[in-house]
């Protein structure tokens, strides 16, 4: 089946079986290997991407569903200034260990902060509950998102000030 994909703003038609998981399309047909595969059943969240503004497990999205939708992978997320702030906070607090869950974690963190500028610890934990990490015990990931929220608010606050 010929399917049109829009991944990170790159539009490309690919002829593939309609049931091919989106994660495989992203990795094999687009060569974007930042999206990881850990379970192929929507449990680990390593393959999380943003589709039409919402996080999804790309292992559970059949290729056919992606037609006409905007998909952002971890590579595409780098174009947004918020990502830089999230990355910096992950680095600063030591939220990265083996790194395999991390692209998915960053996707979920980004989506969470888009939705909620001042998330509580509980809201962060809920927002990241679809991303398994076996290394960190989650604490530093939660701290990183808290830090990123603070930094993002500071910047937005700063811009507001400039406006006045």
């Amino acid at each position: 089946m010929k399917i049109n994909f829009n991944i990170n703003g790159i539009v490309k038609e690919v002829d593939i079986p309609p049931q091919k998981p989106l994660c495989d399309v992203i990795r094999e047909d687009f060569g974007l290997t930042g999206t990881k595969i850990g379970c192929r059943e929507g449990e680990c969240g390593a393959c999380t991407v943003i589709m039409d503004g919402m996080t999804v497990n790309s292992c559970l999205v059949p290729a056919v569903s992606a037609e006409g939708r905007e998909i952002i992978t971890i590579e595409g997320l780098q174009q947004f200034p918020e990502t830089e702030i999230i990355n910096d906070n992950f680095k600063k607090v030591g939220a990265v260990q083996c790194g395999y869950c991390i692209p998915g974690m960053v996707m979920s963190s980004y989506a969470l902060l888009k939705d909620n500028k001042n998330p509580t610890e509980d809201e962060i934990r809920q927002g990241l509950s679809g991303n398994l990490c076996r290394c960190t015990g989650y604490k530093r990931i939660v701290l990183a998102v808290e830090g990123a929220a603070r930094d993002l608010n500071k910047i937005e606050g700063g811009n507001e000030d400039e406006k006045h």
Partner: protein
């Protein structure tokens, strides 16, 4: 990977025609709504995708939540996230928003649909017990006709429904709760997220002069299908909530449940927890 047909209809009519033609030509169709269940089951098992895949995620007509007289109509393509966030449902069928918000994870809720959950007909489906107490009626459409079936008659067994190969579940009609109506949903699960329920209770009733009337109780994960807990309903209906009545809950639950031992839990624990939840709900209302 098996080379099969893929369809991505943009409106309902088109979707139903595809089903009709496939049926006529003897081609089996795997319908994909959110894919959260279908894709996991099809992983490593290409035959699961049958002869073709029909993706219904672009059908805007079945993605709306609206009122219709004293009922609420929910498009079968509404996602769990959409239901969990719906103000209309929060105000008039809050049990659905509560049940939807515990499903899977944010990623799963962004894709998984209420229609998919129903058509899976799994006894562990988190949204089903709530639909039972809300007297959900399902609209099944084919290219030639439409029919309405109560959810209880729709689900025949674990994974088994009466849907026909040329039919699509398009809409779920549920009761709009009255002002003095009370509902609650409780479930137990092995962990806080990404968890399938071990047992669950959906409750509905009207508090009237110190007693509960119109009691409806549905239990999940304690039988091959969702169980309407008639013994429990009978015990509670029209009675004062006191310790004496609460003490009889476990035996009423026993009479209603048919739980099994599996990877997630034991049958004893499952019935026990149903009793605990029911008592908690009664104490809180």
């Amino acid at each position: 990977m098996k080379n099969i047909n893929g369809f991505l209809p943009l409106n309902l009519e088109e979707a139903l025609l595809i089903l009709k033609h496939s049926y006529k030509n003897g081609r089996k169709v795997r319908i994909v709504a959110g894919g959260t269940d279908v894709m996991a089951r099809g992983n490593g098992n290409q035959s699961f995708f049958l002869d073709s895949v029909l993706d219904i995620s672009a059908l805007k007509e079945i993605q709306e939540i609206k009122t219709c007289e004293d009922k609420i109509k929910i498009g079968a393509g509404c996602t769990h996230a959409q239901i969990a966030k719906s103000i209309l449902l929060k105000n008039h069928a809050s049990i659905l928003t509560k049940a939807s918000s515990v499903i899977g994870s944010p990623q799963i809720r962004h894709r998984g649909t209420i229609g998919g959950n129903i058509c899976n007909a799994s006894p562990v489906g988190d949204i089903l017990p709530s639909l039972y107490v809300l007297n959900a009626v399902l609209t099944l459409a084919s290219a030639s006709q439409k029919r309405e079936v109560p959810i209880k008659e729709f689900i025949k067994g674990p994974g088994r429904t009466i849907i026909q190969p040329d039919e699509l579940l398009t809409e779920i009609t549920v009761d709009m709760l009255g002002e003095n109506e009370f509902t609650d949903y409780r479930r137990s699960a092995t962990r806080k997220a990404l968890a399938i329920s071990k047992s669950s209770v959906a409750f509905r009733g009207i508090k009237k002069e110190g007693v509960l009337v119109g009691v409806k109780i549905a239990l999940g994960s304690v039988g091959p299908v969702i169980i309407s807990a008639h013994n429990c309903e009978k015990l509670i209906e029209g009675k004062k909530i006191d310790e004496e009545m609460l003490a009889q809950i476990p035996s009423a639950v026993q009479a209603d449940c048919k739980p099994i031992d599996d990877l997630r839990s034991t049958k004893e624990y499952r019935s026990h927890v149903v009793g605990v939840f029911l008592a908690e709900i009664l104490r809180s209302c």
